[in-house]
Subunit: 114 residues, 2 copies
């Protein structure tokens, strides 16, 4: 059966119509990459918390303080440098690592009091 | 030359002394793993922002709104599920993805007004 009207191109968004984010093939391709990266990030964070959980137990056992401001400062500086090299906003990298460290310290304090 | 006093074991923390986080081989080994994971996280985030930057330009060009609450809800649900499977606190995974999405939307709005 011949098709009477031209079908929309599957690899191009339809023109002259209201954009529909759910059915836009360009946007969907970007979102697939973002979803893959997010899955990797979640698994890296899971592994990071496995290690910091072990650190928390070790620090509690050896009576080391949960937080280590000198170590945190070195981590922030190192990650800002890595971020710059990777064209990521260093301010964001600092906000990110502080966000993660705050969660870790919350866990360490909970492990100590629990 | 014979060593007169027993040297500290390199793979065990010294006992009966004040713990020194800088010179503790157990803690240093954990920290090396954490530093490797953090470098991976920073590079994954850099790649994620490269993609969302392209998404921002594409959305501005096609007059799509910077935020997409339906997509965000699906992302949060998916990552909570992945987090549970990886033994990561789902609440933390939700806080994390919202933290990243907020930064992305801030970038999209800036790209649109700039």
């Amino acid at each position: 059966m011949a098709t009477r009207f031209p079908l929309p191109q599957p690899d191009q968004p339809a023109e002259n119509t209201m954009p529909d984010p759910m059915n836009d093939p360009v946007l969907n391709a970007y979102r697939k990459s973002i979803d893959n990266i997010d899955a990797a990030l979640i698994h890296m964070l899971a592994e990071r918390f496995r290690i910091t959980q072990a650190v928390g137990q070790y620090k509690a056992k050896t009576a080391m303080p949960p937080a280590d401001p000198g170590r945190e400062k070195r981590q922030v500086q190192r990650l800002r440098k890595l971020a710059e090299e990777a064209d990521l906003d260093p301010e964001f990298s600092e906000k990110f690592i502080r966000f993660v460290i705050d969660e870790v310290i919350r866990h360490h304090k909970k492990a100590r009091s629990g």
